[in-house]
Amino acid sequence: MNAKMKETILNPILKGNPITVLVLGICSSLAVTVELKGALVMALSVIVVCGMSSLICSLLRKTIPNRVRIIIQLVVVAMMVILVDQLLKSFEGTYPLDKQLSVYIGLIITNCIVMGRIEAFALGNKPIPSLLDGIANGVGYGLILIIVAFFRELFGSGTLFGIPVLSALGYTNNGLMILPPMALILIGCIIWVQRSIQKDLQEN
């Protein structure tokens, strides 16, 4: 794998992380991080949608008329999201999750990460790198989601993936963690940690 491919894959996970650096895709990341299971499903859905949409738009990139560029992108993304949503509704294990995540799955369409990566990368690059870029950004997004969900579920419900951890030790749940504002504060802290380590990301 050459250096460029490597950078395409690794960049979105740290230095170019869609949530903490590019500040995209915030909306859904707050609502679905109450528990790890939901965060994982959302992360996987975004990885699939972002990867596939980038791939399809990159394949079509030389044929898309400029004036309807945004509309065609939206249609491709919307189609992928609906397919993911329909699939989630069909499997027993994921059906109850789809009920919980319903509005937020639909909102993947407007998840700035997906559209943002198509505009910034897929429309100007070959299909395979675009697929990798889409997947990598999904992974970068998913990583933050899982970190936030880890803390929120652990301190908010005392469990991890539904398995009692802290609650088994007699811990009283911190109700504040379950509420959405906590997700924002947690992301703020993650940004703080990341920028203290990677000083070149700091603003002034």
Partner: protein
């Protein structure tokens, strides 16, 4: 080919839209049976939870097949009754046919009009009967199931669901087992002003047909109260006619 010409733009957009619509329609129709199966199992597990055959989370873990099997083995009959308490139809227990949310929504219009009702009663072999209720919460519909003992008056359990009530407040009708547990042992009293009440500020101690509302969720509690009373009213003829089912 000039990708920016008007003709090309229009044709391209049309082709893409038609293609996408076709793909989606194909996927949606082929997946529908599976989705309907999930919805059916969800409804049945709610009925079973109300009837105290186990907790919802347990049924979810056991899977669709187990839910359907248990229902088929333990249900005696599933009848449809009208406003006068007369049996007007039956739902197949062999197929585990049940009225899901959309059927309840349709019947809600009939209940509100007071005519044309076909309301289900799920009668189990152990004498428990489960009746659904449906109504408007604060932000969207609320519905659920109330399980009655063989005297058709004493409540053995209940389960409620909602679409868009506020999580942590109105959402408690579904998520808080303590709210549902209040229903156990209470009873319906058609001789009282309201057959059953969810009382803001707490039900009077010892009152058999009242429970406490959820604090901070007055509107949802009120909506559920109304749903229960309106639907129990529709079932009244049936429930008071056959006291020894």
């Amino acid at each position: 080919m000039n990708t920016n010409s008007n003709v090309y733009t229009v044709i391209y957009t049309t082709v893409v839209c038609v293609l996408v619509a076709a793909i989606l329609a194909l996927v949606s129709s082929s997946l529908k049976p599976k989705q309907d199966a999930n919805e059916k199992a969800e409804t049945i597990s709610q009925i079973l939870t109300a009837a105290q055959f186990g907790e919802k989370s347990e049924w979810q873990a056991k899977g669709n097949a187990a839910v359907l099997d248990f229902y088929k083995q333990n249900v005696a009959q599933a009848i449809l009754i009208d406003g006068s308490g007369k049996k007007v139809g039956e739902l197949s227990t062999a197929d585990a046919t049940v009225y899901g949310k959309s059927e309840l929504k349709a019947q809600n219009y009939n209940v509100k009009d007071g005519k044309g009702m076909k309301l289900p009663v799920y009668i189990f072999k152990n004498g428990v009967s489960v009746v659904p209720v449906y109504g408007a919460g604060l932000w969207g519909p609320v519905w659920g199931y109330i399980a009655l003992g063989s005297d058709l008056k004493t409540i053995s359990g209940a389960y409620f669901d909602h679409e868009s009530e506020t999580p942590g407040l109105g959402g408690k009708i579904k998520d808080d087992p303590a709210f549902r547990a209040q229903f156990k042992g209470k009873s319906i009293d058609f001789n009282d002003k309201a057959a059953f009440s969810i009382v803001k500020g707490g039900a009077p101690a010892g009152k058999a047909n009242a429970i406490d509302a959820i604090s901070g969720a007055t509107m949802t509690s009120r909506g559920l109260d109304e749903a229960i009373n309106v639907w129990l009213g529709a079932y009244k003829a049936y429930l008071t006619k056959n006291p020894e089912e």
